[in-house]
């Protein structure tokens, strides 16, 4: 009886382990969310709230926002990489295996196309659509990779897509939806996943 139960457990574990990237840590979500909120707060209080407070021209303003967004992106990716590496090492797994490459590939397609698409809008000076576009493509990227990792990522993706569509409808408040999507949602999902997968081990 005991052996049969153990066998079933081992089978299940092997099936998951060989098809899913399970080194993703909720902690990287929490930190990425906090960073996104800081980035959005900087953009809002420094530039958007009162454009007359600073004497940048439109182009300089766009460049500062772009640098701000890039910094948030790079920091978030660093957290994801660092905490995954740490978690993989703890469970004596390699961080780069077939599943990781598959995941990165399927993540990159919607994410890069969305990034370039948003950049085109940004350089045209059409800043208001950027919040919606980044949320939408990010959501699509997450839904696309959710089959290679924890199920929660699927729902996070759906949430981001809905927020992206709302940001397109309420275009002038894009930054609010962007802050909810990249900030608050990451913190909530990150915290939930941290409690579910990381704490008990």
């Amino acid at each position: 009886m005991e052996k049969q139960l153990e066998d079933l457990k081992a089978i299940r574990e092997m099936m998951e382990k060989s098809t899913k990237f399970l080194s993703l840590s909720g902690m990287s979500g929490i930190l990425a969310g906090a960073t996104a909120i800081c980035g959005a707060a900087f953009a809002y209080f420094y530039l958007l709230r009162d454009p007359s407070a600073t004497d940048y021209n439109r182009f300089q303003e766009t460049m500062i926002m772009l640098a701000d967004a890039m910094l948030v992106l790079i920091l978030s990716l660093s957290y994801a990489f660092y905490f995954s590496w740490k978690k993989a090492r703890k469970s004596k797994q390699k961080i780069f295996n077939n599943v990781t490459y598959k995941l990165l590939y399927h993540l990159a397609i919607p994410l890069l196309s969305g990034g370039i698409f948003s950049l085109i809008f940004l350089l045209r000076g059409d800043v208001e659509m950027v919040a919606s576009a980044t949320l939408l493509f990010y959501g699509l990227a997450l839904v696309n990779v959710s089959k290679f990792t924890y199920n929660e990522i699927h729902y996070l993706g759906i949430t981001e897509i809905i927020l992206g569509l709302l940001a397109a409808i309420f275009m002038h408040n894009g930054i609010i939806f962007w802050t909810i999507g990249f900030g608050l949602c990451h913190i909530i999902y990150g915290f939930a996943m941290y409690r579910k997968y990381d704490l008990k081990k």
Binding site: D7, L8, M14, M15, S18
Partner: protein, 96 residues
């Protein structure tokens, strides 16, 4: 009860073989080194279990070269799938 035990496949008694079959059930092809890492097995041990499963026609292997390094890919056969599902059902029956 006797019937249930009869359905448990002796070929899957070892944990390594169970692992090999589980991984191949959900992946089209898997190479030797990936299996080794996933199952945390030694070369010799894994190779002998793979050979045993192959001789039962539960899995097939294809050898190829990546540069100069030999690379063996493994895949499950229709027969292997059938036998493994039977084994899974038997395991579940056993626990009911």
């Amino acid at each position: 009860m006797k019937n249930i035990i009869a359905n448990l496949n002796k070929a899957f008694e070892s944990r390594i073989r169970l692992g090999i079959m589980s991984v191949l059930m959900v992946n089209d092809t898997v190479d030797f080194n990936t299996l080794k890492e996933l199952l945390d097995a030694t070369d010799g041990n894994l190779a002998s279990h793979l050979k045993a499963l192959e001789s039962l026609d539960y899995i097939i292997s294809t050898k190829q070269f990546i540069g100069r390094k030999p690379n063996t890919q493994y895949a499950i056969t229709a027969l292997g799938k059938e036998r493994f599902v039977e084994h899974l059902n038997a395991l579940e029956e056993f626990l009911k």
